[in-house]
Amino acid sequence: MAFIEIENLRYRYPKTERLALQGISLSIEKGSFLGIIGPNGAGKSTLGSAIIGLVPQFYKGAYGGHVSVGGKDAATVPVSEIARSVGLVFQNPFNQLSGAKDRVYDEVCFGMQNFGIPSDEMRRRADETLELMGISAFRDRNPFDLSGGQMQRVAIASILVLRPEVIILDEPTSQLDPAGSEEVFRAVEKLTESGITIIMIEQKIDKIAEYSDRILLMDEGRAIAIGTPDEILSRPDLEEHGIIPPAPARISRALSFALPDGTFPATQEAAVTLMEGRVGFRKDEKKGEAQASAEELLRTEDLSFSYTEGNEVLHGISLAFDGRPTAIIGQNGAGKTTLAKLMKGLLKPVSGRILLRGRDIAGNTAASLAGDIGYVFQNPDDQIFKAKVADEVMFGPLNIGMSEKEARKKAMEALEMVHLASAADRNPYDLDLHERKMVALASVIAMETSVLILDEPTIAQDDRGKTMISGIIKELAARVTLVISILHDMDLVASSFRRVIAMAHGRVLADGSPEEVFSKEEVLSEAGLELPHTAALAKKLGAEDILLSDASFLAAAFRV
């Protein structure tokens, strides 16, 4: 018998109609790395919760079938008992801190105290695990003062010290910036060497492809398929299940480079091995230059800002924005959000000016600018307060003086755009997080501002959600709305934006078309950025141009 045996697991959350899991059977051996992929709502997190017994013990609801973990029945043996052999790490690093400890070291020991581990053993394990996760240097720091990536590593360490046989990671990087994610993935890589069984749920398909021994594809509460990364990610029906195959698989399929077993390589490394020397690239003569469109909407002049005196976070930013959709990229702490908040009037510049259609906004409050400049915050729960989706979306339009009737019309149009028109009468809190994010987005779109600022719109979205956001950006651009977005997802930057501003340390490092910015290697390394996946593959195969899309890749590439 395998360590984890799941037999015909069916489960429904209380007060819902649909089965979240509709008959899952699965066995997971010790020592393997299982990746779980699937669209939002597929039941991935629910499956993870069922393995550790939170489903049904914590969530209640209707449960059928059987889950056994190391011989224990997950439905009846208390969670705190199963937690001795199964650990769970989830998305939000912040909520995983106990809050009762003011040193990282004590935080990591919290779980061991609950299990009555003797103090010298506790210290031994804590020292060893802090070292493994690369957080020894922070042992005396307050865990709440750490960055997201560091906090998430503390969360993983806090689980690892319990010496579980299995660790479940439920989208552990989805709320982190690229550097933070990279830190966590490096930590996961170390784990794979330690021989612990890992189950990782993740939207970042290229990472899953790289680490997994096997991948489970889920959709609508069902296990669609399980197999090697190459097998699963070469499936022709992948997109029907809401997953966009990784760039290496897409490109090699389009160029008909198959592996001997008929599948396509899922990782960059395998794709390069397969195709190296067998593709050439035509040089593109007419390079895409960034042409400014006529009208200038927004301008910043020599903008500087500091939160605390003597600690300047923006140094003289001068930028002019026209109607092109613009992505602002760069690491956390580069000053992106500060710049966006200044432009929205939420912060007041220490020096310099911001002009909206030639008029200085200095005298305006954020509220009075609401009709001109929209701002979508990262966390939808920071704004949702109505009991009905439609009312929530109408709040902004009514505030800026639209009539009830007009506000309702704009709200419905906006909901249409985010594919939530059918949810207009529902309570926002009955929707999943990714849907609430769309409600928040719609609530700002409905105000029909001429400038729309998005802060990390793709966090917590799956491939379908990303595709939808990409479509919305194009639609808004066509309506002469200036979309400015802070983004960490380079693939989306490449596919949906015509202008890219790369920032680091409170300065603009590069500003131009995506091709221009991504061709500046020194800028990418200084700003801590990576190439989009397609461009990275092209480069590894020897392309000189920056090939951002599959279309431009395939137009330039030929088999030799």
Binding site: L54, F90, F94, N95, G116, D381, Q383, V444
Partner: protein, 258 residues
Amino acid sequence: MRSISLYRDNGTWLCRVHPFTKLAYILAVILVPLLLGSLWAYAAAIVLDICILISGKSLRRARALIIFSFTIIVTIFLIRGLFDADNITPAFSLGPVVFYQEGLMKALRTGAVIINMLLSFSILVLTSKPEDIADELERHGFSPRLSYVIASVFSIIPQMMGTMDTITDAQRSRGMETEGKLSQRMKAFIPLITPVVTTSLINTRERAIALEVRGFGSKGKRSYLSPWKKHRGDRAMTIVLLLSIAAAAAWRLASWLS
């Protein structure tokens, strides 16, 4: 996001006093004047509180608390002095308004109780680490859940305050005025407070799960990082404090019986 714990270790003797002794002190300093019933006893208790805070070099940090309590006390004086039902004897008048003796005496008593409580609590809160208080309670057999709440509340509340700022920004961005006229600010109340409550609920639920998977609900014996330094030094002081309560209670009883 830091802790709002008011505790600072300033190296004085007061920080080294066991939290339970401080708890006994709070109990004594509140109960004894109550049992004796004299205003002088309250005055003595307040002087004692202040002396302890001074010798523990913590009076300055209690200042904010004292100022805060004065605003409440002024309100009580106004309400009682002017409108109390028992008011008969005029004490003095300020223009057209007349203050009465009975109400002012009541207000004096309530004010003394509040100041005394605040000062004695501040001795504990300013000079004992919440984690230590929680740890001691737990090792004396109180429930781990109670001690968790005591230890975590000081870091969880500031987080809620942090989200409050983001929420204000998010609603202002949608055109809601949060500054200016009172009526405008009243209107802003629901849109600001609802998200605070819902996010705290969501966070609390998630944190509860996170604690559960780290064995918080585990029934077995718990262990501690450092061995328990059984603290005996303050025992004499604690006993004196508890005896003083008993003495005051006996005095009260005796005066009733006679």
